[in-house]
Amino acid sequence: MNREILKAMFWKEWRETRWKWLAFAFAFHLPLLFVGLSVALRDEWRFDLLAMSDGVTAMALGFAVVVQSIFLITAGLFLLAFFAVGSVGAELENQSIFFLLERPVRRWQVLLFKYGVGAVQATTCVGLSILSTVTVVYVVMAAAATNVTLAGSREAFSYALMNGARGTVWTAFIALVVYSATFLFSVLFEKWWIAVIAGGISIAGMFYYFGAMLFEWIINRATRNTGDDEVNLDLYGQLDPVPMLLMLAASAALYLAAQYAFARKEMR
């Protein structure tokens, strides 16, 4: 495969998925949208925003980090399943993949590009949403609240960003596993809705067995033994290499399984 084909395949994947990716990036900020609408439309919420001061900025940003993280490791994973499910199945179903296979590329290369582009999109989409949420919350607070000053709250913002970055790493790893599993289903099932159901069931299963651990790794340490509505961001998302490496290994295994299935897939 020469360099031109490589560039063309990357460009094709990017062009085909960029709007979908942007739409999902937006969807991963649903909590922000909900809070934004509430602030815009409800007096009580708007009052809370306007009553904020430098002293509660850290508290509000910590709260934003935790809420976004909870959304990502619960509803966000189902959203991710929707995002990943169309990776291969859609092209198989509408037979557009044959145009691709007619080019001088191998099957595994086609799947590698699809997986690579999709995995990067999924992990950035999920992981960065924590940092973007914190940034948006901070900008809105600084702009709207009379008693939030840039000088007085800058430290709280960088503290939230730095600690939130650990959540970014965690959720990126989790997103990679979920993406890989749904990607496999997308290869196995041409009908998107079957792949969605399979993805949903597997996410539900993952929650059943590992849900408590996900919360423990990312959130519980930061909220345990603190006062009402308080978050200790120092303890948020403490990095633990063992589960991360296991997730990486699981993702690799799922990807290889997808390659294996795709290589033997009968396409008509």
Partner: protein
């Protein structure tokens, strides 16, 4: 069409836009509490009425005020959490009116004022939150020997809670409106107005005239109907002569000449402007002599050091006439009541101090008096500066006082001025000096008199200071009194006031350069006018009052839940 069919998300987007639009219309509609005219729910013959409009809007103005910004710098998290607690307590979702409907008789025939609170909430949900938190608190407070009776009256659910010893209270609700009173009859009178069976306060011509001075943007509006008040006082039966004496005093003071009094409080330029207007075009009694008092020249402010914490300057040019008028009035009232008269009280004063109050003090008074609180190296000192008509008479009175009470008098010279000290039974006695035809007196040993002398001899004075000029730039007319406060201690006082509602505020050590407060009052042909500009006016008290009650109720609920 086929293109649309291939793009089902367009239908989704259109549906979402419609839902969002409907939601926005619902939420953005002005709530009842934002446009209240609560006089519609009160009877036309109400004696007094105070309305607080849309408490949340007022709280937002507090947040944006100059004082709260400074306060927040010193009490970062606590100030925000205080406001948020108040916000979620449910009390901010409403406009409130408290009205005095008159005097009624309790079960034992004793006269007592009938007061009704009308609260109009944004919606039923907000009303229920308020009921749950406040009324349950009120109920719990009176538990034990408490009986509850419910009835329907004019379509409202009226609940009468009777407490054998304390009389109980009654409340009723219709839609988002809640009525709460210390008397069931008062709630019924208010419900009659709502049902159209009785005229409302908004039909009261005196009220309507006062209301024209109030705009929607103003937070608090108060009204007192002079005629209704006079009626209530005149109709109060006299049992032991006390009511009759009070009636005489009321008429003698000329209070019956007051047609109406109104009060407004509003935010302007990050501060609160409060205006008090008394409508009394035909003044009589003591009120007439007070009205005839000429304006203050504010000349004594030239003796107050520039960095003074506070100063009050008033004209006393008409003091002898007012004194005589009050003396005559009290003499009549005490004679009627068969009690000691003012002549006896003055004789007692002379016996105790050796001073003839009328002859030595009142007659020696000049045109102006000033009371100031000065900044000293180790704290503060209060100083009285009294303009004199007869300096020798006042000096004689002070000498008589020292002699009569066997107090030692010492003298010292300060920059060519003789400062005398009358030793005190406790502490350092009183320092005094005569400066420019004025008596200057302060606590002994604190140095207040010396600071005034420094100012008189060329030091920077408050009267000539830019701070005072800027603060009093909105003053119109010629005031009879002026009050100035540097607000150097305002944040500490605010912290002390708000303390104890679950948040810890600093009540000492907070320094901020807030703009000074200024209040002034003057007599006009149509009555009296008082205006003040201060950091937050009455609002902190209002908010602290509401949130402390709710905070306590909420804490009790939490404990019960635990």
């Amino acid at each position: 069409m086929n293109r649309l069919r291939r793009k089902p998300y367009l239908f989704g987007i259109a549906a979402a836009v419609v839902v969002l639009g409907l939601a926005a219309m619902q939420f953005a509609r002005p709530s009842r509490a934002q446009s209240p005219r609560l006089e519609r729910f009160l009877p036309a013959d109400a004696v007094g009425f105070v309305q607080v409009s849309d408490l949340r809007a007022q709280a937002l103005k507090i947040i944006e005020s100059e004082a709260w910004r400074e306060f927040t710098k010193q009490n970062q998290a606590a100030s925000s959490l205080f406001m948020m607690t108040a916000n979620h307590a449910g009390a901010l979702d409403a406009s409130y009116a408290v009205a005095l409907l008159g005097a009624g008789a309790d079960a034992e025939g004793r006269r007592r004022p009938e007061v009704v609170l009308v609260a109009e909430f944004n919606d039923r949900g907000a009303r229920r939150t308020f009921e749950r938190r406040v009324l349950s608190f009120v109920r719990e407070g009176g538990e034990g020997g408490l009986t509850k009776r419910e009835e329907k009256y004019e379509g409202a659910a009226l609940t009468v809670v009777t407490d054998g010893e304390r009389g109980g209270f009654a409340y009723a609700q219709i839609g988002p409106t809640l009525y709460l009173s210390n008397a069931a009859a008062a709630v019924k009178r208010a419900l009659d107005v709502r049902a159209g069976k009785a005229p409302s306060l908004e039909t009261n011509a005196t009220f309507a005239q006062a209301r024209t001075r109030w705009t929607e943007a103003e937070g608090v509006f108060g009204f007192l109907d002079g005629a209704a008040l006079t009626r209530v006082i005149d109709e109060t039966p006299s049992r032991d002569g006390g009511a009759e004496a009070f009636r005489q005093l009321f008429h003698g003071l000329g209070a019956d000449a007051v047609r109406a009094a109104s009060f407004t409080s509003t935010f302007d330029d990050g501060r609160v402007v409060e205006r008090f207007v008394v409508s009394a075009p035909e003044k009589g009694g003591v009120l007439a002599s007070v009205a005839a008092n000429p304006p203050t020249q504010q000349s004594l402010l030239a003796y107050v050091p520039e960095d003074a914490f506070a100063a009050f300057d008033a004209s006393v040019a008409g003091a002898p006439e007012t004194f005589e008028a009050m003396l005559a009035l009290f003499a009549r009232v005490s004679e009627q009541a068969g009690k000691k008269g003012p002549a006896d009280a003055l004789a007692e004063f002379t016996a105790k101090t050796g001073i003839d109050f009328r002859g030595d003090i009142v007659r020696a008074l000049g045109a102006e008096v000033c009371l100031a609180q000065l900044r000293m190296q180790d704290g503060r000192d209060s100083v009285l500066i009294l303009n004199l008509k007869d300096e020798a008479a006042m000096a004689g009175a002070l000498a008589k006082f020292a002699e009569h009470n066997k107090r030692a008098v010492s003298e010292r010279d300060y920059k060519g001025v003789t400062v005398r000290n009358i030793a005190g039974g406790k502490g350092d006695g009183i320092d005094y000096a005569f400066v420019g035809g004025n008596l200057v007196a302060s606590d002994g040993g604190d140095g207040g008199v010396e600071r005034v002398i420094d100012t008189a001899q060329g030091g920077a004075s408050l009267g000539a200071s830019e701070r005072f000029r800027a603060a009093s730039s909105n003053m119109t007319g010629q005031p009879q009194f002026v009050y100035y406060n540097s607000n150097a201690d305002y944040l500490n006082r605010l912290g002390g006031m708000l303390k104890g509602n679950g948040q810890e505020f600093k009540s000492s050590g907070q320094a901020a350069s807030l703009r000074p407060s200024v209040a002034y009052g003057l007599s006009r042909p149509e009555g009296f006018y008082v205006e003040s500009r201060s950091p937050l006016g009455i609002f902190p008290r209002l908010l602290a009052g509401v949130s402390s009650r709710l905070g306590a109720g909420e804490q009790q609920q939490k404990k019960a839940g635990e």
